[in-house]
Subunit: 407 residues, 4 copies
């Protein structure tokens, strides 16, 4: 009955990375059948495994859908054709059958050879220019662009579970919990940061205003000053809070040193905003010595890119905050290029934005006091991520303290 069939292959750490199991599942869940033609499991832990399966389904359409699903897990067809393309009918419009990307390493078959897709991100399309393949967001599609359609001629290398090593990602697995030994996690994060910087890696911090409000701004400022952070991605609020704290010692009118409410403190938030408008820019505020400490200050001094994306809830927003969302996305993407590690601290909005732009192999640490926020970010991420449900105001100083101790 099931007379439409195709031979496919999978290889790599397909057993312990669950890839083979997922392929079996997908075929069965979608009403297909499979025969294992050959399976060669690595005899020792460093060996790769390899399997050949015959997948079959009752109709050709069904078979196509099954293949599409399992190609996403890294399966490849024995009969490989070049990727097919169709021209974009108009600016910002993709052909109906466009290939929708994942953030895994992706290759397309062009002229009989596999070509890497540059800059893999989630939910984009692939544009071919000659033999160059690029991952492109829909708003950047131009009429006539050759867009990959269908699933054949596209090959994915899913993230394999790391096997051995010393960093915190490996002993924790892809999970989150509020019941972990906090200080020891902080120690591991500190060690990881130093190890990455030692080999000249790139670390990006994405942060929200709770960093300032909970009293962790000094720790972040230290990380920037120490040259451990290569870019800070945030929104308007982080900068406003940081400048209020740096110039007046308060965060939304609360004295951060002791938690009391400052006299006339309700004005401080708007005062901070006004002081930046009066200076004209962060750089001039620093130059004129009106801003002498804090996260913004250290970024200016150190030349660390501080990319601030505006959102609709912003007061102000400050000069320098990017009010066009498309432009903000471009600058975030640029700042994230080549990142080895991203620390996402107390901001759902900017963390999701960042996550959408990251390839699967970047290490991500999500830190927030609210468990559903951590869970939501971990669920979306298809990266190698570690979720920590903790109090930012206690945790970041532990990380910073540990780094000071080691260096």
């Amino acid at each position: 009955m099931a007379n439409h069939q195709r031979e496919i292959e999978v290889s790599g750490h397909i057993v312990d990375s669950m890839i083979l199991a997922k392929v079996f599942d997908a075929v069965m869940d979608m009403g297909g059948e499979f025969e294992v033609l050959e399976i060669d499991v690595g005899r020792r832990k460093k060996d790769k495994s390899h399997a050949r399966l015959m997948v079959s389904a009752k109709t050709q359409a069904k078979l196509e859908r099954i293949l599409e699903a399992i190609y996403r897990y890294g399966a490849t067809s024995k009969e490989i054709n070049d990727a097919k393309t169709r021209p974009a009918p108009r600016d910002m419009v993709m052909p109906a059958d466009f290939y929708s990307t994942t953030n895994n390493k992706t290759q397309v078959r062009v002229g009989g050879a596999w070509v890497d897709v540059a800059n893999p991100m989630m939910d984009k399309c692939i544009v071919l220019k000659g033999r160059r393949a690029t991952c492109v967001p829909i708003r950047n599609v131009r009429r006539g662009d050759r867009i990959v359609v269908g699933e054949s001629g596209v090959q994915i290398t899913p993230l394999e579970r790391p096997r051995e090593g010393v960093n915190v990602f490996e002993f924790m697995g892809n999970s989150s919990s509020s019941e972990r030994p906090t200080r020891h996690i902080a120690r591991h994060i500190a060690a990881d940061i130093l190890e990455i910087k030692k080999r000249r890696g790139k670390i990006v911090l994405v942060g929200g205003p709770a960093i300032v409000h909970t009293g962790a701004a000094d720790s972040v400022a230290y990380l920037v000053r120490a040259g451990l952070i290569d870019a800070v991605l945030a929104g308007n609020a982080l900068a406003v809070h940081d400048i209020e704290y740096a110039t007046m010692g308060t965060s939304l009118g609360m004295n951060v040193r002791d938690g009391t409410l400052a006299v006339r403190g309700h004005r401080n938030h708007m005062d901070a905003i006004n002081s930046v408008f009066a200076a004209g820019s962060f750089a001039r505020m620093v130059a004129s010595k009106k801003l002498k400490r804090g996260i913004v200050y250290e970024c200016v001094k150190k030349g660390v890119p501080l990319v601030l994306a505006s959102s609709i809830r912003d007061d102000g927003p400050l000069p320098g905050v990017i009010t066009d969302v498309m432009e903000a996305q471009r600058q975030y993407r640029k700042a994230l290029e080549g990142a080895d590690m991203v620390l996402m601290v107390s901001t759902m909005l900017h963390s999701i934005a960042t996550g959408n732009m990251l390839p699967a192999n970047v290490k991500v640490v999500v830190i927030d006091i609210n468990q559903p926020t951590v869970t939501k970010l971990m669920d979306r991420g298809t990266w190698q991520a570690l979720g920590i449900v903790t109090d930012v105001g206690a945790f970041l100083p532990l990380v910073a303290g540990e780094i000071k101790r080691i260096r």
Copy 2:
């Protein structure tokens, strides 16, 4: 010792609205003293009370700060002067001592008379043009604008606790809880909506994509179709989810009718986005019958403003989504003008944005499954607000069902 003093007055429901207590507190907390010169408490519940106090402090500066604080609770000085103004030194720069607004009813003294400030919002400044006073965001300040400075000549009428009545706000108080009889709250919300529309009031819904994902999109679409919603404020995601659901039955690839994962469902999200780009706009998609149901559809059909503000995490965003944040704020503000009730459903970002724009007397209902989100919104709000920690997918259908039953 405390020889700097000023006589002030408070009147209204100052005892049961806690206003008198707050004034006493503020004076004492800031190191001042007071004498009660006269107090006249309303003898029956509808009577207003009135009190005269002599406030004193050791220095004039201290006294000024105390006065500033208590003026914010509605106290007024016996010696009233006109409000002082200073010109804005540059575009987008306020004079240093600018008066920072609340969202309460606010009046300024101009030429010996009290003038209402138009459009009261939190954390803005007041610009005088002749005898007209307007609440203005910092980015709209133009060089030379006459901006109110200091606190004298400004008078606030704080929101008084409602006393009697039938609506849900009055029996609940300003609080939130997950331990309330859910169906009965739904019934009250339904009655409130109908009562407001009966007297031709304006109701605005602010919503996030969880509305679609939890299966409540049909209920919201019904409310729009029934003419009960006067504007929908949201982001890109609500519209994308709604269109995916309306055209393919899925939300992020999950079949909303039964929670199963759709075959090839991972593409549906991007497919929905592409379909709107292909049509060119929501209106054309409706006109060409490619979109035949859902929240976006009903808004288009009914001519209900659907204001979509982009944020940095957006995929697409869809045509019609406002990518400039400043413009989005303008359009939100316009849609909110004259609103009597705002329903904030499952979106922290757009709810905070909306809250920043609302005068204190608008009724706000905050609905979310995550208690910290509800708590955070309630803490920010100085409006008359009701927080409901519930499952949107179960709650909105209860509200819609109740409305269908009553009408």
Copy 3:
């Protein structure tokens, strides 16, 4: 080097249930090595797979530990010996090397044959009496009991992922989320309940007082009256709230019909307790018509076991509430014997207690508004579980309504 080795086998759905992957992982994580001697993967979805591995380690002690770990995943040694036992040295004391149980189906080798262990539960020991093997809690251990020690001669059959079917567990997987189509999940739960009762299965409800407070008591009372619930496990508070609601219409003084506070309502809680003490028992209160509705009433009328375990925060507690915790555990265990499905609603304490007593193959539905509670229960459970983050006051009426509609 690694010259200590043992040949082991695994069979069943070892690829798609991840069992093989877990075995590989465990060996490698613990510093051992393996060779795949033979692997025979089922060619079609109903076929079982089978693998033979040679596991090796540097020391015999290391090897033993590795074997112990992988036996827990269902691996078995080719060389099978009878289980070893040692006598308990004293009452309530196990020999040092006691075998600590899981809640999976467990067998021990006695006289060359495999014997099922009765009543498998987590974290207990196994006592052999002749050829009978029983899972026994530490407090029930008697001096001289023959207690299984070490890991050899013990075999586990881990829960295999269900493959095909119609019930809600299969389309959901082992997960929890607040972003699901609520009404459709309610529909599935309703269908599952009816299907289980149709085949004369046993359903147990574990519940907390939020059932009453959120207005879902009538729905639970209906489920009991309809004969769909075979036992109710709870604490003192559920019963007190239920009786307060049944006799006075309030829950902690709040009128459940409309959420208002009852006059003198603060006394109602203690009044409810006093009324049961005055009657002497639930049964007499029903007999004397002082209790005419509610969950307790329906349990009494229907003869459904209502097992109430006291805890230290109890007011009263009511007559009939078991104040000795050991006795309460015994009665919970008895009520749970043979259960096919357990609904855990809004109570962390009693749900964890119940979970500790359940074999792995029981279907468990966890319902709570607080995501961390659901996450915590799901993390502990090694059963087949479905977590639903929802508002009980809206969800249970949906389930009850659906059941009424179908029957």
Copy 4:
């Protein structure tokens, strides 16, 4: 019309403690009316205020209910009679109209004089023996006990908001938040603890097993060793985790020093339990040097009462854990007598139990990572409480570190 009336008085800090406002509210909410006959507001902050009101209602029954409500806020009638009593009809049964207590300071009128009620707790009754009045739980009521009924002759002194001072309770107010400067709160808690111990006050810690799991056990052990904790109230789990950690370095099999999973760690939990059964008691385990560190160890060494209440989810429970809930309540109550401060850390169950036993004037600090838990405890408490949403594993070491620094 409203011709049933009574003259009442209120005095104290009735304006700034909101007492007068609550009285006005109650009268109006319950359909009564009032006239202010006289009001004398303190002219300076240390002066007390005084008011006389005539309260009226349409029926005598309505008036009685209103009076009952406002007496609870501290109002007193001008016509004072002795408290009425009725004998308990049977053991554990109160007369129908029993007076239900609050945890405020309470006095009853006996023979024309006011007598303090010993040991005020929530939701109990008052038993008179001669001129002695005691707060008694329902299970301790004996047939014939003279139980106070109705509301007349009972007078309450509500907790007044503290006015001035240096401790953390005063700058924070009765609230909770995750957005506070964490380290500074830790510093204040540390100072508060030291200040209380300096004046020979009593501090009780109520704690859950997350203390061990998050790595804060050493900090708590330090506080006990340093003589700063006068009693530890907990359940079985805290002790089991503590002993597992003290003897094997793990918590539920996870190495607390680095978060890795211990080899064979799944047995450690049951091993710890078995080791205490084998020793016979905590004391013998310490004496035989099998237990050499940790919270339990320090309590034994220091003679600090460690009261462990069993609950139905317990494994074991350990010898010494009280399995009868009534006995556990008695011992908790005894340990709490005369407490000046109670730290409630990561346990909802034992914290609620403790809260039910505390008079209103005890300082309570609630520490938990889950905001709804903190909110729930704060909502129940009518004590002077501070809620801190933080990560226990980071916060307690900060408190302990600060104390070490200061001493």
